[in-house]
Symmetry: C2
């Protein structure tokens, strides 16, 4: 189908030189006379010669490629960060003109098999993985395979590998403190399934912040749901049905927070006035929600870039544990956080009494 590319051999023949000489000229070896170097480069340009990468990489024994394991199918709203991450990774790799391979596994088993195949077949020199589970088998596998890797996120015991993460614990302390300062003493937490380490971290932050403010953690105020807007909506409905509903909610993601807003509005309540909601991520979309979503914004523009740089450094021989970067999220106030509104703080018991 595609036109046969010209090889080093025919370029050499064209120049009346040997392939070895041409190769060295092209690769800037010092022991080539300036004049033939010029000649060779010119001819290569003219003929559009490009070294075959499979051959080159086989020869030098380096795949010059890293792989990115896409997070498995999550809610369609949640994906925007993937494009940004790829962008950053690509930038980092392009400085050395390495390639970026993406892999999307269907199941956990599949994922493990993919990893093993990728590294054993010499296709990649390193891997980046996202959103680790609490006890992530991929990390163990990569360590066993002695394959350089970096993780976007981190697990509880993360001392011996490289990672880039945003401090979810800290973020939720900030969020809860902010709500307390607005007068809220019943703040609920809407979380994602706890096998994800990030879900656990954020819950930990919530718990410790509640306690540090001299309040008691009410387990009824902790709702774990599907990591989606629908999940957020379901969880919020549970909370609003409590005998004593919360006056504020922190959500593990902006997407879930959008579901929370929907549930709140559907009851005729006003987010930010009757009930405060704080999301997490800082998605730009939150500007357009109803009302605009207050959120803990994470500085994720550089994540891909940093992860790429780290991985390259590790492949070059750096100690992975030297490459660990913890960023902080910051409170981005829009319109869904507000002072405790006493008039509307009523229990469902009293509402029911009114109805009866």
């Amino acid at each position: 189908m595609s036109a046969k590319p010209i090889s080093l051999k025919i370029l050499a023949a064209h120049l009346d030189l040997t392939v070895g000489t041409v190769s060295r000229a092209l690769n800037g070896y010092a022991d080539i006379s300036p004049v033939t170097r010029k000649r060779v480069k010119r001819a290569a340009d003219e003929l559009g010669y490009r070294a075959n990468q499979n051959a080159r990489r086989l020869s030098i024994g380096n795949p010059e490629t890293v792989g990115y394991l896409m997070p498995r199918v999550s809610s369609s709203i949640a994906q925007p960060f993937v494009a940004q991450l790829l962008q950053g990774l690509g930038e980092a790799l392009s400085k050395r003109s390495w390639d970026l391979l993406v892999v999307q596994p269907n199941s956990s088993k599949d994922e493990m098999a993919h990893i093993e195949r990728m590294v054993r077949s010499g296709r990649v020199g390193g891997l980046v993985i996202s959103r680790p589970l609490k006890n992530d088998p991929r990390i163990r596998l990569l360590q066993d395979l002695k394959c350089p890797f970096v993780v976007h996120g981190r697990t509880a015991s993360c001392a011996d590998y490289a990672w880039y993460d945003v401090d979810g614990d800290d973020a939720f302390v900030t969020a809860v403190n902010h709500l307390v300062s607005l007068g809220h003493s019943r703040t609920a937490f809407i979380g994602a399934p706890l096998q994800h380490q990030f879900a656990q971290d954020r819950l930990n932050g919530y718990r410790s912040a509640v306690q540090e403010n001299g309040l008691v953690v009410d387990e009824d105020l902790i709702q774990i749901a599907d990591f989606s807007d629908d999940g957020g909506e379901v969880a919020t409905n549970m909370l609003l049905d409590l005998p004593v509903p919360p006056t504020a909610i922190v959500c593990v993601s902006d997407t879930m927070a959008l579901g929370a807003l929907a549930a709140i509005r559907s009851r005729g309540l006003l987010p930010g006035v009757d009930i405060s909601v704080i999301g997490y991520d800082g998605l730009k979309f939150g500007i357009h929600s109803n009302p605009p979503l207050t959120t803990m914004a994470q500085p994720q523009a550089h994540a891909g870039r940093r992860l790429g740089d780290m991985l390259l450094a590790i492949i070059d021989g750096d100690d992975p544990s030297k490459h660990q970067e913890l960023q902080r999220a910051h409170l981005l106030r829009r319109k869904t956080d507000g002072p405790l509104h006493n008039a509307t703080v009523q229990t469902n018991v009293s509402i029911r009494e009114e109805i009866l």
Copy 2:
């Protein structure tokens, strides 16, 4: 850094066979005795042998890899479709265990260079590109290089290559007709820069629908702006400042429509009541806008999958022009479209008079 993978040579030595025999056994050649085939496969499994892909691909002369050219940095809201597309492409390729390479160029020049390098260096056997320009140099280049490719979107003269597109012309006819049926006779169009073919297609649909309904195209009602929510907001403000503002607006994307909603709300008007707005894309996020966004939804879940299948078929030798697929968008009514509301249809002239 990474553990040295075991090669065919050492696997063969381990089995007391030659590499040729082992290779054929592994690749299921018929002329290998069943018993040694079993023996070989078992040993391969036990030792975790995986054929080195650079060597294999060099030998068979097939990169077994396709590349995806990421659209250049667009607004962060607009990116979600990238993840979906990659997912679909990955699925299609995985059936034959081909690899997916992603490339993100920084400039148009950079992009052309990338393409040339990718194909000339034998890194990819085919390429998929997104969002073609009206006269897209990438298409010409790929044709010159005789490199199999498919395009996500299409240009005006698209007879001789493979593409998958959603009919933007048709979609805007549908949108305008719908608004006309609601009583709107002054519908504006908010578009993106016209070098993008999709922007032109959608404008064409708008124009012809207006005319087909016996109305006159008012050039003041056509606003081209930056392809972002801010662009949509700016354009809408221009429209609302007209002596006789429109009563409805169709937008070239949901993202721009969100900006339109913001501009409308900021004037104390109600989208869907005072002014109708219809977006394009069908982003799930539109459920959460204020109010929920009516949109022309495109069935993009399968785009990646289809494009991947097409590309593979073309690489196998199919005629590219046999692979052209045009999907239709459908009207997804949420809350921003409504009947013409006479009470609020007032020109700015009258508003100004009130103020004076």
